[in-house]
């Protein structure tokens, strides 16, 4: 019988919603004389959409890069909590190790394999979950084949969630920008993340595409329960979809709270929102 509800959980973190999932404390990062991050401390709770906003060069992408292990912070710590009281320090971890812990991300500039199809790109998201042995994989029999089938089932559910059935077998390079962004989100979801980091998923989109993307981010959060850390410029989107907002300015955390609170904060208004808030 056909079951329309998804069989695979996309969220691999078993923490109780509302508990701290990611704790960042005293994070500092410097490039030569430039201070990218200065004593940043914030907590991302399980089940939240947590937006990070700030003017250009405020250190938002640097923060994400520290979490996913692409940058090594000079000081401070980043801790990922797991169910049952476990905790992993991400600060000194290698990127691939951090990915294995369930930290998935998308990039500001699309980082997909342009000549592979949508399906192949998404299957790559399953890579960290695959256990290959050379011989069965080469001969494509027994366990290798069963394994691929199981992973494909999950990937198909993600395709259904993001409504990209029509482009399943199209090479990613031939797709429109909005679709490519969706595929990148899909690849991150295919990892069954514990934490999803999205670096400006709506940059360069028109209003309609933004609405769609916001819908998909919310779907991932509400339907699949995935915790999302989101960098975004469009204030309307941020205010609409996030549960919590952190504001960075010149590497410093200047506000952190619920969207309504943050938008009333005079420091935020000065640094980023300008006259928008007084409207």
């Amino acid at each position: 019988m056909i079951t329309r509800s998804y069989r695979y959980p996309l969220n691999s973190s078993r923490l109780v919603p509302g508990r701290p999932l990611l704790e960042i404390s005293g994070l500092g990062l410097r490039f030569g004389g430039v201070t990218a991050l200065d004593d940043v401390s914030l907590t991302v709770n399980q089940g939240h959409v947590h937006a990070v906003i700030g003017p250009n060069g405020a250190g938002k992408s640097s923060l994400l890069n520290c979490i996913s292990g692409l940058y090594r912070p000079r000081e401070g710590s980043i801790v990922l909590h797991t169910a049952g009281g476990g905790a992993h320090r991400l600060t000194r971890g290698k990127p691939h190790r951090i990915a294995r812990l369930g930290v998935a991300r998308s990039f500001q500039n699309i980082e997909l394999f342009r000549h592979l199809t949508v399906l192949e790109n998404l299957m790559l998201g399953r890579h960290i979950h695959m256990r290959h042995r050379l011989l069965p994989s080469l001969a494509w029999f027994g366990p290798a084949r069963r394994q691929e089938t199981a992973h494909r089932e999950l990937v198909e559910e993600v395709i259904d969630l993001l409504q990209i059935q029509a482009v399943r077998h199209k090479p990613v390079g031939a797709l429109a920008y909005g679709f490519q962004k969706r595929v990148e989100l899909g690849r991150a979801l295919c990892m069954q993340p514990a934490l999803l980091l999205l670096d400006e998923p709506m940059a360069g989109m028109n209003a309609e595409e933004k609405e769609d993307t916001a819908r998909f981010v919310l779907d991932a959060n509400e339907l699949a329960g995935v915790t999302v850390v989101l960098i975004e410029h469009d204030m309307n989107v941020v205010m609409d979809i996030s549960d919590r907002v952190s504001v960075l300015d010149f590497g410093k955390l200047i506000a952190d709270g619920e969207p309504a609170e943050v938008s009333r904060d005079p420091d935020v208004a000065k640094a980023y929102l300008g006259e928008e808030v007084g409207r």
Binding site: M1, R4, I159, Q165, A166, E222
Partner: protein, 666 residues
């Protein structure tokens, strides 16, 4: 409870349960005869997921028990709103098994339309597909207080909903299974005692003139239609059918449900609305029934592709098309073409025609039907030339969708064919087409006055269409009130003129005015944003919005050339003299066209009265004021000046280059 008082008693012959003369009994017979063959399949997660006849029957039984537990009674109406999925049919058959009827609502319907149907039919249980449809019903819940349960079958996004009247489809099936275990034999008895005269389906009429009416169709009506149709065009259990048009439409009920159950062929549901064409091609259906817009969009798809291809391919196709066209001229008359033509046609088919059919997914198609609105003769001719046996269907919801069709060996593009077996056809003195058969509907739901206006005491259905007989073939002119008489006394149809213009791939809709008592024929045209937009790009013509594009002088010239081509084929007195390109597309949400995309002339006449008057006067410009309500509730008025293009300005320059590619293809 809302038991019907005017229901006819079940005939004694049907009560023994041996004759399969209702849909539930047909399903029971099929599940017994070939339990393991595939009844329907849906593409889900990239795979065609089959449902066998026995699984189908089992799920229908479970859901029927579930509905019984919800208190659905014989004679009641259950509504379904959603895209085509197996659950739609399961819900329909389950409802019918109890002895209740199903009414389909177009998934694109909104607000008032839904309330109208739900309250008119006193619906208490609504099956809504997904979050989108459930949201609509929740918003309207206060206006439809009769509704006590809303069942959804796509649970995504509905996990957090706490409305007590929301139930999942699988949940109803499960509780139904338990209920059925406590009431063994109950459903079987219901199915056995069901009458062929019971209402099976309530279909909404297209409503080009007024609010849609609810037409009651019995099992007998629909199965008689299927039997009569199959005497002309037999179907087999091995035939393939792709179901992608709304089940609320009679055409889909007609083939997928009535013919599907009487023959037991497999029905395939596409994965998503965006994959319809690809899925159609994967399945390669043997039979198809679509309204003209589907055929028109296939044609414009081919036109665009041919236009984009290189010179060699274009000329090969043009040659193949000419051969195919000549060949089709013989075939549609049932004549055998000469040897030379047969040989060249074989070559043309291999190099030019078959690839096009294959691209459209029509390679296996034995018969394609078009109905619901007139299809331009040019479109017709195109499909026959590429080797698709396309036939016109004429009928109305009130006669199960079909009464007249072409036979395979006698297709004439300007007629709608000959009456089906068992169908009587008469032209009234005032030119109205009258029909009588076993498929004439029971009546409009709870509206005996409207029924008596439509069906007279002798059982004749008054179609409201004007037509005449030509050598045994019926020619439909148009809706009786859309038929006009020119100054020189000639009868003509607005639809005929409009379809001529709509043959151009750049034209989406055309509405014509005037023509009577010497008034000039004029037209209001909307451009097709996809094709016109692509053309504008090729011409390096930049534009921002639809309104901007429709206002470009070059686009006016482009459409003028399309109108000029249409005028060539029209008699002098019905040629279009002036036209306006509307600043917006016609939209069903604005009531301008129906959900099946038929133009509502009444609404257009009122809303665009100024434009029509300006066209008639021959002004050079007209300003329309439209009121825009933004989502935050603020209202703004915007003035859009529209140019009235007079065909006398047209220089005859072929802007689009259509003659080069298509001139000899018509």
């Amino acid at each position: 409870m809302t038991a019907r008082t005017d229901r006819q008693p079940a005939p004694a012959a049907a009560s023994d349960g041996t004759t399969a003369d209702t849909f539930p009994r047909l399903l029971r017979a099929l599940a017994g005869e070939r339990p393991d063959s595939v009844a329907m399949q849906e593409k889900l997660y990239g795979i065609w997921q089959p449902i066998t006849w026995s699984e189908y029957a089992e799920r229908v039984a479970d859901f029927a028990h579930g509905l019984a537990e919800l208190g659905v009674e014989r004679g009641e109406v259950v509504a379904v709103i959603g895209d085509n999925r197996p659950e739609w049919l399961i819900a329909e058959l389950a409802t019918q098994s109890i002895g209740a009827a199903v009414v389909g609502i177009y998934p694109t319907s909104i607000g008032e339309e839904i309330v109208h149907i739900l309250s008119d039919a006193r619906v208490r249980v609504v099956i809504a597909e997904d979050q989108e449809q459930v949201d609509k019903i929740i918003r309207l819940k206060d206006d439809v207080s009769n509704v006590h349960t809303v069942v959804y079958y796509d649970p995504h996004g509905l996990e957090q909903y706490r409305q007590p009247y929301l139930r999942a489809f699988t949940e109803i099936e499960e509780s139904g299974r338990a209920w059925g275990a406590r009431h063994p034999g109950w459903l079987d008895e219901r199915v056995t005692t069901g009458s062929a005269a019971d209402i099976a389906v309530i279909c909404t009429t297209s409503g080009t003139t007024s609010r849609p009416k609810l037409a009651e169709l019995s099992h007998r009506n629909l199965l008689a239609m299927s039997e009569h149709l199959q005497q002309v065009d037999p179907l087999t259990p091995r035939d393939r059918y792709v179901s992608f048009l709304p089940f609320a439409w009679i055409g889909e009920q007609m083939i997928a449900v009535a013919c599907g159950l009487s023959e037991g062929f497999t029905i395939s549901f596409p994965e998503d609305s965006s994959t319809q064409r690809a899925n159609l091609r994967e399945i390669g259906p043997d039979v198809m029934f679509s309204p003209p817009r589907i055929w028109e969009s296939m044609l414009s798809d081919v036109q665009v592709r041919i236009g984009e291809s290189d010179r060699l391919k274009r000329s090969v196709f043009a040659w193949g098309y000419r051969v195919g066209d000549r060949y089709a001229e013989h075939r549609v008359r049932g004549a055998r073409p000469g040897l030379w033509l047969r040989l060249t046609h074989r070559l043309a088919d291999a190099v030019a025609l078959r690839p096009v059919r294959d691209h459209l997914g029509l390679t296996r198609l034995k018969r394609g039907y078009t109905g619901g609105a007139p299809l331009g003769p040019d479109v017709f001719r195109f499909f026959h030339a590429i080797g698709v046996n396309l036939k016109q269907i004429y009928g109305q919801t009130e006669i199960c969708g079909i009464a007249v069709t072409h036979t395979d060996t006698d297709v004439r593009f300007h007629t709608v064919g000959t009456p089906l077996p068992g169908t009587e056809l008469r032209i009234a003195e005032d030119g109205e087409i009258l029909l009588r058969s076993a498929s004439v509907f029971r009546g409009y739901h709870r509206n005996p006055e409207a029924t008596s206006e439509t069906v007279d005491g002798h059982g004749w259905l008054h179609t409201g269409d004007a037509g005449y007989l030509d050598d045994g073939h019926l020619v439909v002119i148009d809706r009786a009130k859309d038929v006009r008489r020119t100054a020189d006394g000639q009868l003509f149809s607005t639809a005929f003129v409009e379809n001529k213009v709509k043959f151009s791939q750049f034209v989406e809709e055309a509405v014509m005015f005037g023509g009577e008592s010497g008034a000039d024929v004029t037209a209001m045209i909307t451009i097709d944003p996809a094709t016109t937009g692509a053309w504008a790009e090729q011409q390096h013509l930049s534009y921002t919005t639809y309104t901007d594009l429709a206002g470009k002088p070059a686009v006016y010239e482009l459409i003028a050339s399309a109108v000029a081509r249409a005028n060539e084929d029209l008699p002098e007195s019905t040629r279009i003299r002036r036209f306006v390109l509307l600043h917006k597309q016609l939209d069903p949400d604005d009531d301008e066209i129906t959900r099946t995309r038929k133009v509502r002339r009444g609404v257009i006449g009122e809303r665009y009265a100024e434009i029509i008057a300006a066209l008639e006067r021959g002004d050079t410009e007209v300003t329309v004021v439209n009121t825009i309500t933004y989502q935050d509730g603020t209202v703004a008025e915007r003035e859009t000046p529209l140019r009235v293009y007079s065909m006398s300005e047209f220089t005859g320059e072929d802007v689009a280059g259509t003659t080069a590619a298509w001139g000899d293809l018509r």
